[in-house]
């Protein structure tokens, strides 16, 4: 089983590298040097053959953006898989239960209210502040939705989804209201949040993301067995020696952290957490031992492809990435609803 898992992960990694190198080449700007390999080689040898434009686009625009797509796709997919395991339902994803909305609401508040002393802070603190706000928003919504929809260790899916709708509506209203209180620059930031885009990728943001994701994965990716056991019901999982409450707390805090950070940097990109586990379930059933680590790589592939399409399909302009993920995600949402309509 373990060997097979390693094989699947390696195959996905190869695929991811393939997609990434294609994505690096595609875009509104075409490199003067036709071969990317040549650019890298020249860059490394430092012989000054790389034009300034090539260097800028490759290292300050395209590469950070690709890295961000990889990191965020992974984080969203893993969050989705973990939440589905915890809620024991394939519809429990960060954006359907309102966690992304909660995070963007708090991020918006952070931007508008923080605007007063923002200019005095260094960039690291600035981005961290918004991420922390988004994290607080995410964890508050997650706790609220979980408490509300779960009684006696059973989750009521209808309540869970409707709580998500309610929170999204509230977040939408407050964010809308905030747009009237803001100046131009903040308004641009807010619009960017509501649409979702990876356009603002920088190495600094990627650095923060790497830290958050690395830390979360160490504590989460080995929880496949626990999530499998929780399908039996939480009591029975406890009888198998699984520390259920501890696992749930860990999932709530870490997914909130990941979703919060992602939302703070790229806005509410929906559906990745729904699509990836769904595809993996089609192949591997609900075996979290396999789909949890795999979703970390497949999520990267999916979001990277989506982002590459979103920035090339209407080049030189750019289509919000949320449009693409929704195109994929909404039919899957409907498919799950049809399959589970008896159990809802």
């Amino acid at each position: 089983m373990q060997n097979k898992l390693l094989l699947y992960i390696s195959v996905c990694f190869v695929l991811l590298i393939g997609v990434a190198s294609i994505s690096l080449k595609l875009g509104a700007y075409s490199f003067e040097d036709s071969s990317l390999w040549q650019i890298f080689k020249n860059e490394l040898s430092g012989n000054g053959l790389v034009s300034e434009m090539d260097h800028y686009v490759l290292f300050n625009v395209r590469l950070p953006r690709i890295v961000m797509a990889i990191l965020m796709g992974s984080a969203f997919a893993v969050s989705g898989t973990c939440l589905q395991g915890m809620f024991k339902n394939p519809l429990a994803t960060p954006n359907l239960i309102g966690v992304t909305s909660g995070a963007s609401l708090f991020a918006a508040i952070g931007i508008v209210l923080g605007g007063h002393f923002r200019s005095y802070l260094p960039d690291v603190l600035n981005y961290s502040l918004i991420s922390i706000m988004a994290f607080i928003g995410a964890i508050l919504t997650m706790t609220f939705v979980y408490r509300m929809s779960t009684t006696r260790r059973k989750t009521n899916v209808v309540v869970m989804l409707l709580a998500g709708v309610a929170i999204s509506a509230l977040a939408g209203a407050v964010t809308g209201f905030l747009t009237y209180l803001t100046d131009d620059e903040q308004l641009r930031d807010l619009t960017f949040w509501t649409l979702g885009s990876l356009g603002g990728a920088t190495w600094l943001k990627n650095g923060i993301l790497v830290i958050v994701i690395f830390f979360s994965y160490i504590l989460l990716l080995n929880k496949g067995k626990a999530l499998n056991a929780m399908m039996l019901g939480e009591e029975d999982a406890t009888h198998l020696g699984i520390p259920v409450e501890k696992v749930k707390k860990r999932i709530i805090i870490l997914t909130a952290l990941m979703v919060g950070t992602c939302v703070a940097f790229a806005g509410a990109i929906g559906f990745v957490g729904l699509i990836v586990p769904y595809i993996l379930r089609l192949i591997f059933k609900s075996n979290y031992h396999i789909i949890l680590p795999l979703s970390a790589v497949v999520g990267s592939i999916l979001l990277l492809i989506a982002d590459t399409i979103s920035r090339t399909i209407v080049a030189p302009s750019e289509m919000p990435i949320g449009i693409l993920t929704a195109f994929l995600g909404a039919p899957i949402f409907i498919a799950i609803l049809i399959r589970f309509k008896k159990n809802l």
């Binding site: 499998n228 056991a229 399908m231 029975d236 406890t238 009888h239 059933k285």
Partner: protein, 273 residues
């Protein structure tokens, strides 16, 4: 004594589900809990298996309170079969049974774990279903998958282990009922103990070493099957007339329920013809 419960009570809001129940079980014993609906059987079994208990509840498993055990150690020594099994588990049968070995491996199962689940699947007659989807099984088959999982959990070198079963025979045909009861007996004869909630009094009479009769949250009777399965005790507990015979095949008490006041039409026709 392997498990001792001292005057345990349980309330749901103001309603008392369990009222100062005392229970004890020795290694090598099968204790069967019987009683009418709503007597608190499942609640009692739940408490005895460490579900939702507080530190005030005086339950001692091998002379220690559950809270002093480490989770893994406890999982090696005690397993529970629950009545309400989730019907939607998107896994293969063998993967569900493998969960019983989760307390024994970290990332991937050892050969020993695979051997154990194979043996247990054969024992519960689900080996041929091992590559089927759990969700496609019938009620009785799912039941056996979980029994297999619970049995697999306790296959180790520990001594005096405890297995708890909440109505393990639901949905099973008579052959599988006997098969499961015999498997449980085999388990207890190795110096382990089992507590089983049963509805079938005749199977209880045949397989129990001790019987606990629960009524309205109280222990109505506790003792050997011969002691409990008398017309007076059973009729009073279930509020329904009964007669007790000796089972001609097993020589165990055999309980037959029937209401004399209402004549069965078919019996009347039989005697006339």
């Amino acid at each position: 004594m392997m498990l001792v419960a001292n005057k345990i009570s349980r309330f749901h809001r103001s309603f008392q589900i369990l009222n100062e129940v005392e229970i004890s079980i020795k290694a090598g014993e099968t204790l069967v809990i019987i009683g009418p609906n709503g007597a608190g059987k499942s609640t009692l079994l739940g408490m005895l298996s460490n579900e939702n208990i507080s530190d005030k509840d005086e339950i001692y498993f091998k002379d220690r309170k559950f809270s002093t055990w480490c989770a893994k150690e406890l999982a090696h020594n005690k397993a529970k079969f629950s009545q309400e099994n989730n019907s939607d588990i998107g896994l293969l049968v063998k993967d569900v049974v493998l969960m019983g070995r989760y307390p024994y491996f970290n990332a991937s199962p050892h050969q020993e774990d695979l051997d154990v689940i194979e043996e247990m699947m054969k024992k519960t007659d689900i080996y041929k279903l091992r590559n089927r989807h759990y969700n496609s099984l019938s009620g009785g088959e799912k039941q056996r998958v979980h029994l297999s999982r619970v049995l697999a959990q306790l296959q180790n070198d520990e001594t005096s282990k405890l297995a708890l079963f909440d109505e393990p025979l639901n949905n099973l045909d008579v052959r599988h009922q006997y098969n499961i009861m015999e498997t449980i007996r085999e388990f207890t004869q190795k110096g382990n103990a089992a507590i089983v909630v049963l509805h079938d009094l005749n199977l209880a009479a045949e397989f129990a070493d001790k019987v606990l009769l629960l009524k309205k949250g109280k222990v109505a009777a506790f003792g050997t099957p011969e002691h409990i399965f008398t017309e007076k005790v059973i009729a009073a507990a279930y509020n329904f007339p009964c007669a007790v015979f000796k089972n001609p095949i097993t020589q165990c008490p055999m309980i037959v329920f029937g209401n004399q006041t209402k004549n069965c039409n078919r019996c009347v026709i039989d005697t006339e013809s």
